[in-house]
């Protein structure tokens, strides 16, 4: 269970939001909504522990995330704005490294299956720099298929640059994860066909 209590976020010298409280239980899909610049990405970074809160606390299974970072990170998958791809490596090398760096042991065959499943069968051996924006995004998203053991998925604009079929496919994957007892927290401006009706958190209500 993820609990957020009285969270405030300071960006530069401007207070973006304050008093944000939220509880995310197993099986829930949360969509963080609000206009540009309201602090959606900042909220996600606070939840992952990449950024430090001005006030308030984020707790995972009742423990503040800063106190037992390694345990929290074992349960967390965060896909940010940046795709974490190196241009000189192939999608396969990038994906294998991303898994190993996160602490998962995944063999090459499984990585290849994930990339084929997300529609990159023909690009396995190309350097990432020749991929299109949508294809780059897919390489990052392929980690979703390999991370079902991680309960909390935090996704920043996962649907950007994806085509309609990929969006539907991704929505199904996210719904399946929730049905299996996982939690998903995402930002998006697009409508996606989720099987589970997403809960919506409007940050605008907490804006300063």
């Amino acid at each position: 269970m993820l609990e957020i209590e009285d969270l405030a976020c300071l960006k530069g010298d401007r207070l973006l939001f304050r008093g944000l409280a939220l509880t995310l239980a197993a099986g829930e899909l949360l969509r963080v909504a609000g206009p540009n610049g309201v602090g959606k990405t900042s909220l996600l970074r606070l939840v992952t522990g990449l950024a430090l809160a001005e006030a308030g606390e984020v707790r995972w299974q009742g423990v503040a995330i800063g106190r037992d970072r390694d345990a929290f990170h074992r349960d967390l998958l965060y896909l940010g704005h940046a795709s974490a791809l190196n241009d000189l490596l192939t999608p396969l090398e990038n994906l294998r490294f991303a898994c190993a760096a996160a602490g998962d042991e995944v063999d090459e065959g499984t990585c290849m299956e994930a990339l084929v499943r997300i529609g990159l069968a023909d690009q396995l051996d190309l350097p990432a720099r020749v991929l299109s924006q949508g294809q780059r995004r897919r390489v990052g998203l392929a980690r979703l298929f390999l991370s079902s053991g991680r309960r909390l998925w935090v996704l920043d604009e996962p649907f950007t640059a994806l085509d309609v079929r990929a969006v539907a496919d991704l929505a199904t994957t996210l719904s399946d994860h929730c049905r299996a007892g996982g939690m998903v927290m995402l930002t998006t401006h697009q409508d996606a066909p989720f099987a589970v009706e997403p809960r919506v958190l409007d940050i605008g209500a907490y804006a300063c």
Binding site: Y78, H81, E105
Partner: protein, 222 residues
């Protein structure tokens, strides 16, 4: 646990291989800086022999500094650093792997080439093993201290210049004992004391710098 260490090491070495021009530029810089001195101070062998340890060490230090800003920059831009910071493995491990890969691609070539360049400056042949050993002990310290500086100046405008200002004063003790070891060996007093101090410095840096570096990376990605 070592899985992460080797994954980062393998990837960084692979990236260095695919972008090997960068590695060669650093090495070429080292060679050219050393070769400039005979033109500047004249080709008098006694004079060159006297300044050889200092010249080689300062050139090695500058070559290291030249490539330090690359250590985390690309990973910071493309988001890999965020993912590494979210790893469930201790940050010290992968920081150490990155620094090791950095040393293997910039420090080690310098260590290997330096004895050859020392002959150019007419350094006594008996002091060549000491030169190589002092560089082999000293350049990892430069890489470890430099990594902390690189982490602190990550994403800062004009970070390269700031990194040099921040980190060069810290390199001074390494320079003193490194060049001192070669001088002591050449003058016949023995380099053991200098080398032991360098070894101690390396052990200390190895224990503390990765921790400081990991903390600095957390701050710079905030």
């Amino acid at each position: 646990m070592l899985n992460t260490f080797f994954a980062v090491l393998r990837r960084d070495l692979l990236l260095a291989w695919r972008g090997r021009a960068d590695v060669l530029v650093t090495l070429a810089f080292f060679v050219i800086v050393v070769c400039l001195f005979p033109f500047g101070v004249g080709a008098e062998p006694n004079q060159l022999r006297a300044i050889a340890p200092g010249v080689l060490w300062v050139a090695a230090l500058l070559a290291c500094l030249l490539s330090l800003h690359r250590l985390f920059a690309q990973d910071h831009v493309d988001g890999t650093l965020e993912q590494l910071l979210l790893s469930s493995e201790p940050a010290v491990l992968w920081v150490l792997a990155k620094v090791l890969a950095f040393w293997l691609t910039t420090g080690l070539p310098v260590v290997l080439v330096a004895p050859g360049l020392a002959l150019l400056l007419d350094l006594e042949q008996g002091a060549l093993p000491t030169l190589a050993l002092s560089l082999a002990l000293g350049t990892p310290i430069l890489a470890l201290l430099g990594a902390v500086g690189a982490a602190l100046t990550l994403g800062v405008r004009g970070g390269g210049m700031l990194l040099a200002l921040l980190i060069l004063p810290l390199f001074v003790p390494v320079l003193i004992f490194g060049a001192g070891a070669v001088e002591a060996e050449a003058s016949g007093t023995g380099a053991a004391a200098h080398l032991l101090l360098l070894g101690g410095g390396l052990a200390g840096a190895l224990a503390l710098a990765p921790l400081a570096c990991a903390a600095a990376l957390r701050i710079s990605t905030d």
